[in-house]
């Protein structure tokens, strides 16, 4: 339950703020109240509106009519006329300049370099929605017929057709029914309790919670009463095998009785149905799926470990953490890069966790204390940062992937904004007026459906070649020119968090909410092909690896 704000105390602080008599202790108290209390913020907003409204009301020349006013109001006009006058002046000035330029170069005039456009949406989005009806629980050697790049294990599935060329896919509907689809086969998802299978072989486990689950075929509709059954569908016939419980068959050309445990039926197009005994071994069982998954994970781990040897031998590799072999209470994260010594990570907080595949080690960042600290001396004309990360929530303005301490010239912050853009923020030269910072953003791609799934993120900064590049899952997302021709520096830095250095007592919270299970830094710009390879070697999908070898 929310505590009602203590209005007398709050309004005392508000009033002191408006009269500029607030002291630092009071301000800190105000900040703390506003930080944790939405009601306090609502009151604050209305209070400040009121403050403006009153100033506006009496600061206007219109209201000077009352002669009883002790102090005349002529000075106060300036409060409200400042910016509109300035803008009007600007308009006149800039228009004439623009006109002049247009005449001179006889082409469209470009606006002068200006402050970065805003890219953090300060307003609350409408409540997020989804049309998903099922989840792809696992995919074993799955090759999808159409662009199935989004069909990775754990992905939410929306209504539509899923065409499996080969391999096995396990789809769990939100109703609780699970389907094991064998390739080649197609399944069209309609709702969380209904699907259509034009062709293919599948088995369904329908627990009591999902009773009434239906699968249509061109020849018959199978409605389940809380059972397990198999379905084999071709153009000219459909076979239904009941392993457990009972199913109803409807919509067939001929009337059919319910089918019970151990029974099977062949329904040819337009012909008479023939009954026979159900064959469990004709369909993949959940046990077989589990076994194949285990084998697949082993193969995956072996492949990844084999690729690590060459990876660690790269002389430009500054740091590589694989988060393996961690024991509870470990504080040191071993740097595996052959070429650099003493650059181990120091673990502060962070719970041990599971990574991309079962058994893979990872660290979880969830509280604002969690971080991995490093110190990397030197300046770099080029850097490549790579992370396997599972972002669970974007509940901060900035969620850190990797941030250099404070934000002095040459420092950089690799982060995700609250609207789901990956950003490399680089601190540029400072002068007394303003600091020149540059933000290199991807489009907002980290949508709610991507949260909770592992992805491979890379950023490349190359002053010499004049390019900043963002990658996701091995593919180039964004390419931008750097604003400053100066090297980056790292020094004290943190994976999954940030600290402001020593200058301030209170500072913004920027911790990552999610997991990291591999991280590396190179002192050069990796090629597109190398980044694609990193992804393939670390991907959970073996099939992706096989396809790329063709």
């Amino acid at each position: 339950m929310r505590r009602p704000p203590s209005l007398p105390e709050l309004t005392e602080l508000f009033s002191a703020l408006c009269e500029d008599t607030i002291d630092d202790v009071q301000f800190a108290r105000l900040n703390a109240r506003l930080e944790k209390d939405a009601d306090a913020r609502a009151h604050y907003a209305v209070y400040m509106d009121m403050h403006c409204g009153l100033s506006r009301r009496w600061g206007e020349p219109v209201s000077v009519s009352q002669p009883s006013t002790v102090v005349q109001a002529q000075v106060s006009r300036s409060r409200w006329t400042f910016s509109i006058a300035a803008v009007a002046a600007l308009v006149v000035l800039t228009s004439s300049i623009t006109l002049f330029v247009v005449q001179r170069i006889d082409g469209p005039a470009k606006q002068a370099a200006s402050p970065e456009p805003p890219d953090i949406d300060p307003r609350i989005d409408p409540e997020a929605t989804t049309d998903s009806v099922a989840i792809l629980s696992s995919a074993i050697d799955a090759v999808w017929a159409d662009d199935g790049s989004a069909h990775v294990a754990g992905a939410a599935l929306s209504p539509g057709a899923f065409r499996l060329k080969s391999g096995v896919a396990v789809i769990q509907f939100y109703s609780g029914a699970t389907i094991i689809l064998q390739g080649p086969g197609e399944l069209q998802l309609s709702t969380s309790g209904e699907a259509f299978c034009p062709s293919g072989r599948l088995s369904a486990e329908v627990p009591p919670q999902a009773q009434g689950f239906r699968i249509g075929t061109p020849h018959v509709v199978v409605t389940d009463f809380g059972t397990a059954f198999g379905l084999d569908v071709a153009t000219d016939w459909a076979e239904v095998h009941v392993f457990k419980g009972e199913v109803a068959l409807t919509g067939a050309a001929v009337a059919l009785a319910n089918l019970s445990e151990g029974q099977a039926v062949l329904i040819p197009r337009g012909g008479a149905a023939s009954h026979f005994s159900a064959r469990r071994d004709a369909f993949v069982t959940p046990q077989e799926v589990a076994l194949q998954l285990a084998v697949s994970v082993n193969k995956r781990t072996e492949q990844w470990l084999a690729s690590a040897e060459k990876f660690n031998a790269d002389p430009t590799l500054i740091a590589h953490f694989d988060f393996e072999k961690l024991v509870r209470g470990d504080r040191v994260l071993k740097n595996l890069a052959n070429n650099s010594s003493g650059l181990d990570g120091l673990i502060v907080g962070c719970a041990m966790s599971e990574g991309r595949w079962p058994g893979k080690g990872a660290l979880e960042f969830s509280t604002f204390s969690d971080r991995i600290r490093m110190n990397v001396p030197g300046e770099f004309n080029a850097l490549t940062l790579s992370a396997w990360v599972r972002v669970d929530r974007l509940d901060r303005l900035f969620s850190s992937l990797f941030m250099v301490e404070a934000f002095d010239v040459g420092a950089f912050h690799w982060q995700i904004t609250n609207v789901g853009k990956v950003r490399l923020g680089v601190a540029g030269p400072k002068n007394t007026v303003r600091s020149e910072n540059a933000d290199y953003d991807t489009p907002a791609f980290m949508t709610p459906d991507r949260l909770g799934h592992w992805m491979h993120l890379v950023v490349v900064y190359d002053v010499t070649a004049g390019v900043v590049k963002h990658y996701m899952d091995g593919k180039l997302l964004q390419q931008l020119p750097p604003r400053f021709k100066r090297p980056l520096r790292i020094g004290n830095c943190e994976i999954g968090n940030w600290n402001p250095g020593n200058q301030v007592d209170r500072y913004p919270i920027r911790n990552l909410n999610g997991r990291v299970d591999e991280f590396s830094i190179h002192s050069r710009a990796l090629e597109d092909s190398e980044i694609a390879q990193m992804y393939e070697q670390g991907s959970t999908r073996l099939s992706a690896l096989r396809e790329s070898k063709k």
Binding site: E19, D20, G53, V91, P117, R123, L397, S435
Partner: protein
């Protein structure tokens, strides 16, 4: 739209939304002078980006993004963090900021009717405070009160106003 029309449109829109924008900025940066500086920067930035403005979208929504960015710029320029809200507060305030013109208008109407309910001497005191740029000390001297008493009075009156406005808003 040609350059001239665009300029006129812009000045018109800016004039219409200046108050709203200033309130927005002041809420995030609660110092009148600082907020004025940021308004100036925002006006400049808006003008430089006027080519990006889509007349079909609400002007305030567009402009407030620039204002937010300028507030951030201003904050990053500050050497001390004195009287700057934490990032969390800033973000929350910006997020929760109502952009609904009906609500804003309702608030204005509520303020007017609440002002009418004030005692005459309280209203006059408020007017003196807001109709002048001079500080509370000068006002205290002019009215023969101690500054402290004046602060307390202003605090009390504004609190009564806030309670009244919140009450009216809840009713609406």
């Amino acid at each position: 739209m040609n350059e001239d029309d665009r300029s006129k449109q812009f000045v018109l829109q800016f004039a219409r939304h200046e108050n709203e924008l200033f309130r927005y900025v002041l809420t995030l940066l609660p110092s009148w002078n600082d907020a004025q500086d940021v308004m100036q920067d925002t006006a400049t930035a808006l003008w430089q980006h006027i080519g990006d403005y889509d007349a079909n979208r609400p002007f305030f929504t567009w402009a407030s993004q620039f204002a937010y960015h300028q507030v951030q710029n201003f904050r990053s320029r500050q050497r001390t963090h004195r009287r700057l809200f934490s990032e969390t507060v800033l973000e929350a305030l910006a997020c929760e900021r109502t952009t609904h013109s009906d609500v804003i208008e309702g608030q204005r109407v509520a303020l007017e009717s609440c002002l009418a309910k004030l005692r005459e001497q309280d209203r006059v005191l408020l007017q003196q405070r807001y109709a002048t740029d001079s500080d509370v000390g000068a006002l205290a001297r002019a009215t023969g009160q101690t500054p402290n008493a004046l602060y307390k009075s202003l605090q009390r009156i504004r609190r009564a106003l806030l309670e009244c406005v919140m009450h009216k808003m809840a009713e609406a």
